[in-house]
Amino acid sequence: MLGYALRRLLIAIPVLFGILIVTFVMARSIPGDPCKAMLGEKASAATCEAFTQRFGFDQPITTQLYIYMSDVLRGNFGDSIRFSRPVTQLLVERFPMTIELALLALIVATFAGVTLGIIAARKHNSAADVTTMIGANIGVSMPVFWLGLMLAYIFGVIFKDTIFWLPPSGRLSAGISSVPFYEVWGWQLAADSGWSKFLEFLSNLYIFNALVTFNWPVFWDAVRHMILPVLALATIPMSVIARMTRSSLLDVLGRDYVRTARAKGLLETDVVRKHALGNAMLPVVTILGLQLGALLSGAVLTESVFGLAGVGRLLVEAIFARDYPIIQGVTVTIAVAYVVINLLVDLSYSYLDPRIRQQ
């Protein structure tokens, strides 16, 4: 099991190299000149010359790649052109927001999707089944940005001044701020160490931070701000998971071993819970891994609609500004997350299916 995980991690190394090279090339293939994008159309040739030299864009592309790769291997994504700050620092500030959003959306999508799928499969061909599946089809067809705007409009505008009102933008209400847990606990952090960056990263998960410091007002405020973006983001994966659970469970319910379970005298609820679900979840877990990737990209749109300062918005803005280090840094981080998630999914198979465990 451990050997398998290590082997998989080793296989991931060339994949990550590939990702580095591809993002490097793709960032530079975006038409437009970083100098013009950054300093404006009227920047003089001399100014641009200085700019290009300063960021090394005059070097041959292979040299640039070499420098970039050696930096990345030392854990340095370079400095943002636009903010003149390390990309790593920007990731520490912005990524937690996206992770919080994507994880919450995944949790909601999984619970709701699996539940709806089970209901639809158990009541196959009934009104409940048809309604759920029509709902899932509608859900999967709704664009995230449109659904986001509608939710923001309904709960932020129409329900304004009622108890159903939910904040349509931002992470926290004005006047409420999240105090990092290490400050609450009075930890002294060494400036600029990897450990302190990690703690800062954790503390930027506001909901998590509020939970561990028992700061309920901040917790509720952060949760309330997350409801609409999470709903907008979770709808598509929820529908996909619901459909997958339904078809997978229907397939499993027709299998011989389910008939055996019934013949043993188990009640239908236990047949589903103990014998069908474990087998039916295998394809659903695959979908789950893929959906988390989709969630990260969906987060880009959701963050824009709900005015959240996450990594998705950072990326979009960086693309417009031709801020190569940020584009590369964010893309690589998301790609690494994707690889890791899929590794976890593969490892979970062997937990779920003994037939894979022995191979």
Partner: protein, 329 residues
């Protein structure tokens, strides 16, 4: 033997499936009695309603099937009138079933020990530890070598014969009064078949379980059966004890089946086959269901064969037959 009250009585059972092509009368008016300790074999070719009869008794008819008529009495219980919750207490406990393909009938994600133990926790209310201990006991009883290690094995790690022993262990865990075995050896190698049948006979003697053995193999019938029901197109066409059936088969279908058995040593050019096919269950002939394939009808034609459905009528003591040519005066 027949003097005692039967353990299981099936009266006029009809199980139909509503399909797009029409109503398929998979089981149509089947009646029989099963007594303690005896083995009743149900024979017939694929699709004749053997398995659906068994699943009807278990209350496990798959959709869109439904029992439209009849009565199934199990000792004091009217099974069809039971609520699902009550029926579940009988299933796997007092009546249990073994299926055809053991490799697909066991859940791939649970160990076989857990799967057997589940029956004990379910019906006897044992704790998990006690249930596993009892599971070990039945695994020994069905002749599984090294049961302590095997308990932790998953179904895919076992051979077909071993897996079927696990199925038998599971079915016999609560010492049921009735065991239904639906082609228990069809998916197994011939050598393993003999072992499994031997095991079933041993266990039957030990627990005095009444057995319904469903098969299409007349060799198994000859070896295992006390009484035999021959089914064709959803109906019992002949009913007799095993000796009578083999010595003196009456129904043209049974006779044709007997002639299609290869005989060792006999000079035989070709195996005899029954011409034609089983009629579609959605569109059965008006008269006798076997009439279109019946060879004997050509020799001694009876006009009713094609117009009137024959009844299952006693032609001798404990021997009944559904045929105008035998019973039609």
């Amino acid at each position: 033997m027949n003097a005692a009250a039967p353990i299981l009585t099936v009266k006029d059972l009809s199980t139909w499936f509503d399909t797009r092509a029409g109503t398929a009368k998979a089981v149509d008016g089947v009646s029989f009695e099963l007594h303690a300790g005896e083995t009743l074999c149900v024979v017939g070719e694929s699709g004749c309603g053997k398995s659906i009869t068994a699943l009807s008794i278990m209350g496990l008819i798959p959709r869109p099937g439904r029992i439209v008529n009849g009565q199934i009495l199990f000792k004091e219980l009217d099974l069809l009138a039971l609520k699902e919750r009550e029926f579940a207490k009988v299933r796997g406990n007092r009546i249990s079933m073994i299926f055809q393909d053991p490799s697909s009938a066991l859940n791939p994600v649970h160990t076989v020990g857990d799967q057997i133990a589940e029956v004990f926790t379910l019906h006897m209310g044992l704790s998990s530890a006690e249930a596993h201990k009892s599971a070990l006991g039945v695994m020994k009883a069905v002749g599984i070598p090294d049961p302590e290690t095997r308990m932790k094995a998953y179904p895919h790690e076992m051979s077909g014969g071993m897996a079927q022993r696990i199925m038998i262990a599971m079915a016999l865990a609560c010492e049921p009064e009735v065991l239904i075995a639906d082609e228990p050896t069809t998916a197994l190698d011939v050598t393993i078949q003999a072992q499994i049948l031997e095991l079933m006979r041993d266990l039957q003697d030990r627990f005095e379980t009444a057995t319904i053995l469903i098969t299409h193999d007349l060799g198994i019938v000859a070896e295992m059966a006390d009484r035999v029901a021959v089914m064709y197109a959803g109906q019992v066409v002949e009913f007799a004890d095993v000796v009578t059936l083999f010595d003196n088969p009456q129904h043209p279908y049974t006779r044709a089946l007997m002639r299609s058995i290869p005989t060792i040593g006999a000079e035989q050019e070709m195996l005899e086959v029954i011409e034609g096919r089983v009629p579609p269950l959605t569109n059965l002939p008006k008269g006798c269901r076997f009439a279109p394939r019946c060879a004997e009808r050509k020799e001694t034609p009876d006009p009713r064969c094609e117009t009137e459905a024959p009844e299952l009528i006693d032609i001798a003591a404990a021997h009944s037959c559904r045929c105008w040519l035998r019973t039609g005066q």
